[in-house]
């Protein structure tokens, strides 16, 4: 019996577990395989929808589904978070009841979360459009009251999930105030610690002119250290200050707290992961996917999805005695709405540089289509469409052998 534990039932964990359950349904029925997802959340939320809740007043409830309704037959949902993942001794411990579950293989898919503790004052001052449907709904309540002044949006610290989302917030805020005929009274400022409006120059060269055209101010290289909510002042690490009236910043993120101090995670709790075969480095039977990894790519749903497919296919091959093995191509595809029904995409792989994609209505519709098929895709639906869409980047067949385990030579912070 192969016992597979999936820690985290978000986008990556669900796609992994459901894909494996579909492929191995006979083995599951005959008792040769067991798949368990551990997750204490009652709901799963469609996170890209947070922006529409915060800046267009969309109903936050429309972004939620019961997690229990998203697992296929053959997958057992244990409705608890894990407080410990002991890879060496192959067991997890659940948080509330302290139960111990053994595994043969484990997939860590615990995502990322905002870490307000890094920037004093931010949690009191910020209207968070990025962390939950409920917080986004509160941000919209605040936004509706803004009639004048300086609205500052952007990046409070790195890393964070969905790199284009702060840019989207700037464009959507502009659209909001234009539609309300308040744009002349409201100054929109985009704040970033990077050197340009988007870290990658190709994307920057596409969107910077839009900032200019829409009269959105860009402040670069601002390393936010703290916020003074009473004086309504942002303070940088270098001592610069910036006044604001309303704040919509994306906080820096960390990995799940339970991994801090584990030898298989870095100091911020990101799991040390092989960028191709997604093994937790040094462990043949442990994998990490999605935002939880320390991979040198964007933290986004597409990556979580394609990584889940790679790991599921490798386990299926192994179970079926096939020598076929697959690896992740590093494919990223983050949509970036530029307002007024236009969008671009940030697309690339480990080997291919970021593509130049002009904003269009067609791209915007693609983004909308993704939302339509999101819930089915978590259950392994529409995989033919993803396979067709991503083509050679979907995954890569490999003959690469895993190198013998060794300690990393350099510290990766």
């Amino acid at each position: 019996m192969k016992n597979v534990a999936v820690v985290g039932g978000g986008a990556g964990g669900l796609i992994f577990a459901n894909t494996l359950a579909k492929e191995m349904s006979e083995d599951i029925q005959s008792g040769k395989m067991k798949i368990r997802i551990f997750d204490g959340s009652i709901y799963h939320e469609f996170q890209p929808g947070y922006l529409a809740v915060a800046f267009r007043g969309r109903d936050p409830e429309s972004l939620r589904r019961y997690l229990s309704g998203l697992v296929l037959p053959g997958v057992e949902l244990v409705p608890e978070n894990c407080s410990k993942v002991d890879i060496d001794n192959r067991f997890v411990v659940t948080e509330k009841t302290g139960k111990k579950f053994e595994f043969d293989e484990v997939v860590i898919a615990t995502g990322s979360k905002p870490d307000y503790s890094q920037i004093p004052g931010l949690s009191q001052a910020n209207h968070d459009f990025h962390s939950s449907a409920r917080a986004s709904a509160d941000a919209y309540k605040r936004l509706q009251k803004v009639r004048w002044g300086k609205v500052v949006t952007g990046i409070a610290g790195v890393p964070y999930k969905c790199p284009p989302s702060p840019n989207e917030s700037a464009f959507m805020l502009d659209e909001f105030f234009v539609r309300r005929k308040l744009r002349n009274e409201v100054k929109v400022t985009f704040l970033t610690p990077y050197l340009r409006s988007y870290s990658n120059e190709t994307v920057n060269s596409i969107i910077e002119p839009i900032y200019k055209e829409r009269n959105i101010e860009i402040i670069t290289s601002f390393n936010l250290e703290s916020v003074d909510p009473e004086k309504e002042l942002l303070v940088s690490m270098e001592g610069d200050t910036l006044p604001y009236d309303t704040l919509f910043l994306v906080p820096p993120h960390t990995g799940a707290a339970i991994f801090k101090g584990e030898e298989y995670a870095d100091s911020d709790g990101w799991i040390k992961t092989d960028k191709y075969d997604l093994h937790v480095t040094d462990h043949d039977y442990a994998f990490a996917i999605g935002d939880a990894t320390n991979l040198p790519i964007s933290k986004a749903g597409v990556e979580a999805h394609l990584e889940a497919i790679v790991v599921a296919n490798n386990i299926v091959s192994e179970m079926n005695g096939s020598s076929d093995r697959y690896e992740f191509t590093g494919r990223l595809q983050c949509s970036m709405e530029t307002g007024f029904h236009q969008a671009t995409f940030v697309v690339g792989t480990y080997d291919k540089p970021i593509e130049r994609i002009q904003p269009s209505f067609y791209n915007y519709m693609q983004k909308k289509l993704m939302e339509r098929i999101y819930w089915a895709s978590l259950k392994g639906g529409y995989e033919w469409l993803f396979r067709w869409h991503f083509g050679e980047d979907y995954y890569r067949k490999t003959t690469r052998q895993r190198p013998p385990a060794q300690s990393p030579k350099v510290q990766n912070i």
């Binding site: 890094q118 610290g157 790195v158 890393p159 790199p163 610690p193 990077y194 050197l195 870290s199 990658n200 120059e201 670069t220 290289s221 390393n223 690490m237 270098e238 001592g239 820096p252 911020d268 960028k275 040198p296 790519i297 964007s298 990223l332 940030v346 690339g348 480990y350 540089p353 970021i354 990393p408 350099v410 510290q411 990766n412 912070i413």
Partner: protein, 78 residues
């Protein structure tokens, strides 16, 4: 004074500057960050970033496709 080694090899988007920014938040004046990268954009970006934040590039060395940038942190306020 501490030295932090930041391995950003293979990073393209959002890029090595993300790893530099993470290390910078934890660093103090006088510390040195040694950034390893394969993205050629890192040379110009690290230089521009230091100019804007009042930090200093001590050296930039390229060997076998790996660029090593040594940065002295001196721009943080008191």
């Amino acid at each position: 004074m501490a030295k932090t080694l930041v391995d950003s090899r293979g990073t393209a988007c959002p890029g090595p500057i993300t790893d530099l920014l993470r290390a910078y938040r934890k660093a103090s004046n006088g510390d040195v960050i040694e950034l390893l990268a394969t993205d050629p954009g890192v040379k110009a970006d690290a230089k521009a970033w230091c100019q804007r934040t009042n930090n200093e590039v001590l050296s930039t060395v390229e060997k076998n496709g790996v660029i090593t940038v040594e940065i002295k942190i001196m721009g943080k306020k008191g």
